[in-house]
Amino acid sequence: MSETEQTEVFVQQLAECQGRMFGYIYSMLGEHSRAMDVVQETNLALWRKKDEFREGAPFMPWALAIARFQVLAHVRDQGRDKCLLDSELVAALSEEIEQQVDQLESMRIALRQCMSDLPREKIEMIKSRYYRSMTIAEIASAMGRQADAVKVALLRLRRALADCMHRKMLED
């Protein structure tokens, strides 16, 4: 295989694993823009190490192992102020999150199904919180409701959606 073809294969694999990598890193950091930063740092590390990757070997475990290093480095640099997990927790949770990553795509499908059953107002709340990263206070003022009420509603909604998603996964 020529070098160009190898690069193409590599880029393709890298592109395909972006969602799962984000899932992994986001689960560790729990914050969107920092997770995106670490995804990009991991991409860079993977790209630099592409010659070390043996073609035909599974890409994902390799990518996740490197992602874990990047998360650890991030946690160490940013420290306890910004990150919820410390390095011990990263190590403790890593394996479980890696297992979940394989199911990411089917979870996405399940979640779409669950979302489709929601009434409009609730969908708007989810969108505000998760797509537009609005704070509870912002959502409350936009909706003309008490912050506490919004919080309780969102907590319930999140739990119901997460449970629905896991239930749908089991049905399949």
């Binding site: 880029v11 592109a15 995106m36 860079l44 990411l104 797509y131 959606l161 998603m165």
Partner: protein, 577 residues
């Protein structure tokens, strides 16, 4: 107690995400995570949920109508505009597409286009993103030198356990496999282990760059990407300079290549090494060592003695010779398909059949191949290009751009159905990649498509209303990037007698599912439909959903019957490229 800790954890996590958790709360949250394994499980579950929901938010696909009722399920109506602040862009980092709510009247269509753009660009922008971020991260790394060494030196264990592929099968001619060994297909990655040919020829490309042509009957043990042991049979190796050092072991001989072309044969205890070009080093386990140069041959006799021998290059099939054989195999397979196709055209069970065979490249009509001729069944090619199909002498149709499609109109009412086609998928960019979709998707109309998860999807519309729309039958994921560019045979049967839908890949059943009574439709119909895409439904509120296939199709057939598994298998065998 455990469940109350989980409740507490959830509230704390929620506040932490909101940025409103105080220091004591953070300490408490960490403590819970450290001491309670159920909390850790709940954490993973919640965070994963958060990741997924944000992924969909990022992709801008939140406005797509999905699932169940498909286009009738208006999931995310456009916001009223009044309730939410305008221009709340999603964090637009790293080349992502910003979705602005604007005045609240962003159409679903435009968000869809954004979503599809994102997918289309994902791969191509990746390098730019990587390179663009390079400088920033580079300087950051330099200021924190320890990071760099940590990331570069300590390689995680996981990486070591992954010696799955060391070579690729690139060509196979008339191959039968030894029954005790695993069969392979062109494009397969070969792991460490035995390649056992009963007959035929296999071309194997090692990841180091060496190419081996193995002639059956023979057994080759792949040991690493640079070493293989020939247990019996004959091979010819071509080793470009980049792969110097490639080794073939035969009996107690070790042939180390110095950039060349050579042949090795092992037969009843005798081993022959012949050098056609360049030179090789020969090591005998008794310590003897020889340099063998071009035009020379050495035999290790049964008694272990090395002797000079005569060069017989014609005994070893080379790349050129293999090429001839590949060509003649292609010709004979094409002929086999053609004969089968002639019979298929007259099969009374065929509703419509596009062999995509005799058409000229400039024709925009996709002629129906059904005999007796019925020109009303001809399809119209829109956008899509004619390309080379499974064989050089046969054409196929390539769908690339969002508008590419073939329009057909198939009147009549049917019961059981079978869809079958040869398809080469380049990638699955969309939520749904269409194989065959009826326009309106009304009662009795089938939808046949592939999900971005690599699952084949088949449904027949029952009626309006959420949850009552249809029963979808999903195959297990069958497609991933390793199948990109390979011709695959897909078939799905809808049997109204047994009320089952069955999916097939390359003639093998992937799954079978019975349709629940309340979602079953006995009478099917097609009408206006699209191959390789979805035409916007005619209802005024419905949007234009991009569902174009990214790939090529070569042969499409629809039967008014549920084919038996062996009939589907026959379609695959007779049409295999």
């Amino acid at each position: 107690m455990a469940s109350s800790e989980i409740d507490e954890f959830e509230r704390l996590l929620f506040d932490w995400e909101d940025g409103t958790l105080n220091a004591a709360g953070i300490t408490r949250l960490r403590k819970l995570l450290h001491v309670n394994s159920d909390v850790r499980k709940a954490y993973v579950k919640r965070q994963f949920f958060g990741a997924i929901i944000r992924l969909d938010g990022d992709a801008g696909i939140s406005s797509l109508a999905i699932n169940e009722g498909e286009e009738d399920a208006v999931l995310f109506p456009v916001s009223d505009g009044a309730k939410f602040p305008a221009n709340q862009p999603v964090d637009g980092k790293a080349g992502k597409i910003q979705i602005t709510q604007g005045s609240g009247n962003v159409t679903r269509g435009s968000i869809r286009r954004n979503a599809s753009l994102l997918f289309v660009f994902a791969a191509s922008i990746l390098l730019c993103v990587v390179l663009g971020r390079w400088l920033i991260v580079e300087s950051r790394l330099q200021s924190a030198g320890s990071d760099r060494t940590a990331a570069n030196t300590a390689l995680p264990e996981k990486q070591e356990a992954t010696s799955v592929g060391i070579a690729l099968v690139t060509r196979l001619v008339d191959v039968t496999w030894q029954p005790s060994e695993k069969p392979f297909m062109v494009g397969d990655a070969l792991p460490v282990g035995v390649v056992g040919l009963e007959s035929g020829v296999a071309q194997i490309e090692f990841f180091c760059g060496a190419t081996v042509i193995l002639e059956g009957p023979s057994r080759l043990v792949l040991e690493s990407s640079t070493v293989a042991r020939l247990q019996s049979g004959r091979l010819r190796a071509q080793v470009p300079p980049a792969a110097r050092g490639f080794q073939i072991h035969a009996e107690e001989l070790k042939v180390v290549d110095l950039g060349t072309e050579f042949g090795v044969a092992v037969n009843e205890g005798e081993a022959d090494v012949q050098v056609f070009d360049g030179e090789v080093e020969l090591y005998h386990s008794n310590g003897e060592q020889r340099l063998v140069t071009a035009g020379k041959a050495v035999t290790r006799a049964v008694n272990g003695v090395l002797e000079d021998a005569e060069l017989t290059p014609n005994m070893f099939l080379g790349l050129e010779g293999l090429d001839d054989r590949v060509r003649s195999q292609k010709q004979s397979r094409y002929q086999r398909w053609l004969e089968h196709s002639m019979k298929l055209r007259r099969d009374p069970r065929v509703i419509t059949y596009y062999s995509m065979e005799q058409d000229r490249s400039w024709k925009r009509k996709l002629a129906s191949s059904v005999v007796p001729e019925n020109r009303d069944l001809d399809g119209a090619i829109v956008g899509a290009k004619r390309v080379v199909g499974r064989w050089p002498q046969k054409s196929g149709i390539e769908f690339k751009r969002p508008g590419d499609r073939v329009r057909v109109n198939i009147p009549g009412e049917f019961g059981s159905l079978t869809f079958a086609c040869w398809v080469k998928i380049d990638s699955l960019d969309r939520w749904y990649s269409s194989l065959f979709l009826t326009d309106n998707y009304q009662r009795g109309e089938p939808h046949w498509q592939i999900l971005d998860t690599g699952q084949l999807f088949f449904s027949v519309r029952l009626g309006e209303g959420r949850g009552k729309g249809h029963h979808k039958v999903l195959s297990p994921p069958f497609w991933d990037a390793s199948l990109s560019g390979r011709w695959l045979h897909l078939a799905t049967t809808y049997d109204v007698e047994t009320m089952t839908t069955t999916h097939f890949l390359n003639g093998e059943k992937m799954c079978e599912e019975r349709i629940p009574d309340e979602l079953f439709v006995k009478q099917t119909c097609v009408g206006k439909a699209t191959i390789g895409n979805w035409s916007s439904p005619t209802r005024p509120e419905a949007d234009f959903a991009i569902r174009n296939l990214n790939g090529s199709m070569d042969e499409f057939v629809l039967f008014r019957d549920a084919l038996k598994p062996d009939e589907v298998r026959d379609l695959f065998i007779q049409g295999s490229p």
